[in-house]
């Protein structure tokens, strides 16, 4: 049987000034009907370029396919006219994207957006179209499709929006679905549902799915076959059991090895002095009206925690759980509504800015997005030295300290003169750690500090964080949505949902014997937990 999609010897050229000549080089891959093929790679591996080129959606000014063919049901679409490709998109192949909020038109009703596909590609009447849309929405298990037909994207949750995207992609029953990181922006429990849905629909319709991902957990959950890409080349491909169980290529082994295990390693309980305490910390948004009207959102409710020096406390939860609110309250980047934040015994929760400045150096934070955490107009050195110099350290001394810290985070001290855009994401995160350490803090907060990084880089940065924690005896507050990462670095875990701490305990105990239903649901939803549990 001919495969649905057959990519043969495809090379795509990058513009002249890019870091390499070809975005993808001589790749061969095939997707059969009824098969899910996962393309796995780190950023810059060419996996998305491959998907976009197949769809004919690549940036025509920057990317030129120079060699090979893309056969969609034996038709070479690289030779097709734009009109023909436009017809194939939707009817034969369709795509879902990472961010459903931006992929949907915010000012059109979702039902109409799905109906538009039918309007363009079929000559059904308006009522027939609506019936088809409702059926498609029922197929993706959206509750009350009749009512939801009239909803706008912002009225739906992230998971519902992704279901709308899937309904839209599948309403014309294409033979090939391309999914570009469709669950990366979703919470772990939602991700599990969407993955289940994709698998179910693919089973029922027998279509081929090309699934782009960076997450081996997802691969383990849904893939039939796996294609591993690095620097635009395919380094290895094969059935999922072979790739995960017996990887041949060194790069594949490195990637799989870098996936943190769900089993927490044995840890010594920390014995340091108490560095950070919060008692009944609350953050509310909005005000109750005079007569009980108005809307109050409890972003964090009665959060009480203690972190000792040398200890890592993990706060895990999904988006909206309040985990970042807690961090920002402790940092006093936002003002807590009530409760105490004790740093070395002193309550800073309600301290005025002038007095607070003295205590700022005790708590430092590393943010999620390495591309926005450093001022692009200032050199790395200026960024690192800014804090100490605020506290009266002489410039020469601050520079010396910055040089030492650069070595500690594994970068050359000469790089202090460079600007942030010359560094990769992982390197920038190292710089951010150095900047935080320059203040000689007692408490270091890592707010999703490794979430934006590729898995191999993530492993290195995690190791660095762990090293500096022991070396400087830092109390670390580690905020993450990723249970695998949390398992590896945290001494204790706090699980938060809707602003409330639902469970707290030593990491090993929480993972082995979760008490709260929500913790159990979170652990069960972690992708690939059955295959990569080791």
């Amino acid at each position: 049987m001919t495969p649905v999609l057959d990519v043969r010897g495809l090379s795509v050229r990058l513009p002249e000034n890019a870091d390499r000549p070809l975005a993808v080089e001589d790749i061969d891959l095939a997707v059969a009907a009824g098969e899910i093929v996962c393309v796995v790679g780190e950023s810059g591996s060419g996996k998305s370029v491959t998907a976009f080129t197949v769809m004919g959606l690549h940036d025509r000014r920057a990317l030129t396919p120079v060699k090979g063919e893309i056969l969609l049901e034996s038709e070479n679409i690289l030779a097709d006219s734009d009109t023909r490709i436009r017809k194939l998109r939707g009817e034969k192949m369709s795509m879902i994207f990472q961010e459903p909020m931006t992929a949907l038109n915010p000012v059109a009703r979702v039902g109409e957006q799905i109906g538009e596909m039918l309007e363009i590609h079929t000559d059904l009447s308006a009522s027939e179209r609506k019936a088809r849309v409702i059926r498609a929405m029922t197929d993706v298990h959206l509750p009350d499709p009749e009512k939801m037909y009239r909803a706008f994207p912002h009225q739906l949750s992230g998971g519902q929006r992704q279901r709308i995207m899937i309904a839209m992609a599948l309403v014309l029953e294409p033979v090939l679905l391309i999914a570009d990181e469709p669950t990366t922006a979703l919470d772990v429990t939602t991700q599990a549902q969407i993955l289940k849905l994709i698998k179910e629909l693919q089973d029922r319709r027998g279509m081929g799915v090309l699934f782009i991902t960076h997450d081996f957990g997802v691969v383990a959950d849904i893939a039939d076959r796996v294609v591993i890409m690095q620097h635009g080349k395919i380094v290895e491909q094969g059935p999922v059991a072979d790739i995960l169980g017996n990887p041949q290529h060194a790069y594949t082994r490195m990637l799989i090895g870098a996936v943190p295990s769900m089993t927490p390693p044995a840890r010594q309980p920390a014995a340091g002095e108490t560095a950070l305490v919060t008692t009944r910390l609350n953050k509310q948004y909005g005000h109750a009206g005079l007569l009980g009207g108005g809307r109050v959102v409890h972003a964090a409710q009665d959060v009480t925690l203690t972190v000792k020096r040398g200890e890592t406390l993990g706060i895990v939860g999904e988006s909206g759980s309040g985990k970042s609110t807690v961090a920002r309250c402790i940092m006093r980047l936002i003002d807590p509504t009530s409760g105490e934040v004790l740093i070395a015994g002193e309550d800073i929760a309600a301290m005025r800015e002038g007095e607070l400045r003295r205590h700022r150096r005790d708590i430092q934070i590393v943010f999620q997005d390495p591309y926005r955490s450093l001022n692009p107009r200032r050199t790395v050195g200026q960024s690192i030295m800014e804090g100490p110099m605020n506290f009266g350290v002489a410039e020469a001394e601050a520079r010396g300290r910055a040089e030492d810290l650069m070595r500690i985070v594994g970068l050359a001290p000469e790089a202090l003169e460079r600007f942030p855009h010359q560094f990769s994401g992982g390197q920038r995160q190292r710089i951010c750690i150095a900047r935080a350490l320059a203040m000689e803090p007692r408490v270091l907060i890592a707010d999703e500090a490794v979430s934006a990084l590729d898995v191999s880089v993530q492993a290195q940065v995690l190791k660095l964080l762990d090293d500096v924690r022991t070396r400087f005896e830092l109390a670390m507050l580690f905020i993450t949505h990723d249970l695998r990462v949390a398992a590896q670095v945290c001494d204790r875990i706090m699980v938060m949902r809707h602003g409330v701490v639902v469970e707290e305990g030593p990491t090993a105990k929480v993972y082995a014997d979760p008490q709260h239903d929500y913790t159990r649901a979170l652990l069960a939803a972690a992708p690939g937990h059955h295959m990569l549990a080791g």
């Binding site: 980047l333 955490s373 804090g387 506290f391 050359a412 190292r430």
Partner: protein, 297 residues
């Protein structure tokens, strides 16, 4: 924290040094509209600066030589009092350029200051913005006429009258940039590092406002020149003894059908100057907008 063994050394491979941004001006001049607009503008400025020293006296009367067409007396002919239109137009360029430049820089300076405060200090926000809303509701021409009739027609009054209604636009622009930038993690990192607020503003927030402000300034400059000409034409601008494009046209309008050149030449000059300024503004907007600029690099 010195010489201990480093926990792990990653080869400090950096991205190529060449990635350093070429300077904004270098980049801007690569843009065709910025280049041609600037050439035009420099020519006009040179004419305005040098012109008055080499042309005839723009206010000397010559009753023997009234309403002469171009070529017969001077390049641009003469007006109803026999004054040389060419030297009047060249001198008038000074007024237009001074007004444009002064209004743009004063409006930007005041607007930047207020915008930074409104955007960064929350309690000042509502206060400043409501005043700006009030200012925006005043019609510019009407305010100018009122101010000039109250305090007399001087260059200062004209500039002040045009500046006031332009300020709210700048404040809004700056405030919106500040509101976005203050959420950036690097600003929060600076707060966490104990950087005092004025330093945060000047180091981390202010530089982000420069590019949109330069663009806005060119538009303000263009529209200020137009407003000044309108005021002059209405007789509410610079006093008639100083030639400006507006009052030259105003004086020439009675003879328009007979001697169109008196209106035609200052009109053309005004149009070309405003056009040059706006072309530069458009070009700068394209260059300084990071999304478009990336494609140009």
């Amino acid at each position: 924290m010195t010489d201990q063994s480093t926990p792990e050394t990653v080869a400090p491979t950096l991205l190529p040094e060449g990635a350093r941004d070429p300077s904004v001006w270098h980049l801007a001049l690569r843009n065709k509209s910025v280049l041609w607009g600037s050439i035009l503008l420099v020519a006009i400025i040179l004419a305005a600066v040098i012109g008055p020293f080499v042309t005839l006296d723009p206010v000397s009367l010559n009753p023997m030589n009234r309403l002469k067409p171009p070529g017969e007396a001077g390049f641009f002919g003469t007006d109803q009092l026999g004054r040389d239109v060419f030297s009047r137009v060249v001198n008038g360029a000074r007024v237009s350029l001074i007004v444009g430049l002064a209004v743009a820089s004063i409006a930007v300076a005041i607007g930047l200051f207020l915008g930074l405060i409104a955007g960064y200090i929350r309690i000042m926000d509502a206060f400043i913005m409501r005043i700006m809303d009030g200012l925006m509701s005043i019609p510019a021409i009407l305010l100018a006429i009122a101010m000039i009739s109250l305090s007399g027609a001087t260059l200062t009054t004209v500039v002040a009258a045009i500046v006031i209604p332009e300020i709210p636009r700048v404040v809004r622009l700056v405030r919106s940039v500040v509101l976005t930038v203050r959420e950036e993690p690097y600003v929060e990192a600076a707060i966490s590092a104990g950087t005092p607020t004025p330093l945060i503003m000047s180091r981390h927030v202010l530089p982000n406002t420069i590019a949109p402000l330069i663009v806005q300034a060119t538009y303000i400059c263009g529209s200020a020149m137009l407003t000044e000409a309108i005021l002059g034409f209405l007789g509410a601008g610079i006093p008639p003894e100083i030639p400006s494009w507006g009052n030259i046209m105003s004086e020439g309008r009675t003879f328009f059908q007979l001697t169109p050149w008196i209106i035609f030449f200052p009109g053309i000059c005004l149009a070309v100057t405003v056009l040059a300024v706006n072309i530069v503004g458009d070009g700068l907007r394209d260059t300084l907008d990071p999304r478009i600029a990336r494609n140009m690099r």
